[in-house]
Symmetry: C2
Amino acid sequence: MEERLPRDKDPDSEARGRLLAAATDLFARKGYAATAVREIVAAAGVSPPVLYYHFGNKEGLFLELMREAWGDFESTVDAALGETGSARDRLLRLASQVVDLFRAHVGVARVMNSIYYGPPQGAPAFDFDSCHTKFRQAILGLVQEGVSGGEFRPGQVGDMAWAIIGAINIAMEIELCHPELSLGPEGLLRVLHLIFRGIEAPRVGPEEEAL
Amino acid sequence: MEERLPRDKDPDSEARGRLLAAATDLFARKGYAATAVREIVAAAGVSPPVLYYHFGNKEGLFLELMREAWGDFESTVDAALGETGSARDRLLRLASQVVDLFRAHVGVARVMNSIYYGPPQGAPAFDFDSCHTKFRQAILGLVQEGVSGGEFRPGQVGDMAWAIIGAINIAMEIELCHPELSLGPEGLLRVLHLIFRGIEAPRVGPEEEAL
DNA sequence: GTCTATACAATGATAGAC
DNA sequence: GTCTATCATTGTATAGAC
């Protein structure tokens, strides 16, 4: 047979990278269990043993994918926490950066999301929980700062954090299932702004009272 | 009396019910693709042909599961929409009832959620989108009423709806991945209340101004 | 309606040549 | 590092008896 494959003498890193990219795409489009090793290697243009050489097995490939994505996420949160400004501004910035990262890696984000909130799909255990907790603690800390500094109402730190996380999650979920409705970076800020300010119309009376 | 047709889906069949329950549990714990027909029938205490007799195949069983869950959800939304009261109260009631339903059927909810936001996992196509859209439209309609009636601020109907949906989704997601942190029925109401009222501390100046 | 037994395709993974 | 060829296992689904 004629040999005209463009992958004749590929450096090792190239096949590895193509496998990671192909797996991300397939896991995101079909799911972990529903994706066969054969499909991954075919999409990457390599033979089965190449996958086992680089990652040990299907689970190893999956874990490597999750590790890289989690590293990106962790860096983003750490960077956002290092910045300065009012609690409100830092919350807005953290939210924007997290959703931007999500938007830039929807594929792997869909996989992580689906396995964290849903069934494991046969995928090996990964500590998604520490990702989630780190993010939750970051938001919680910023809200606490806002309350301590008098920016936010006192006494409902936990509920405030959930409201904000809810807005961030919704922005990401829209990207997953209705990208045509995407809030975009400004939309997320608008929703958060609204949560800070409140939905209800201002009272007409002389002063606002607690309910 | 006329005999039942060979492929009739008998709702009174004991085996049928056990298959549905077993499948819900396994799909929720492992995922659709990762669950073998052999496991389902073993958990239901029947032999493989019983599944094929009642549901045609694995996909048919899955679709039946989704149809029943979607019916429950639709009824809940319709019932909540038929009630009376202020937009605010009706929103709170709809939110509570939807999250209560979710809590009462976490298993099937986890499966639906995971497939809607994530990869299909090899499961057959189901119109989750119309479920989601119906719910979104219900919230949107109630918010619109609130704005028309002067209860809510004008001009941000869409963003308001997302903020509220975000809170409802977060309440459900906590049930999925951190049930020990569950907001409970009161917690959801607290978060929604907060969103209505706003997170920021009231201004000390004479009057609130738009930003 | 339910069983036992089985057909047969697809799966994850490996041996051994180069 | 990568290939071709193949293994053992597990998957969905069915035939035919009762």
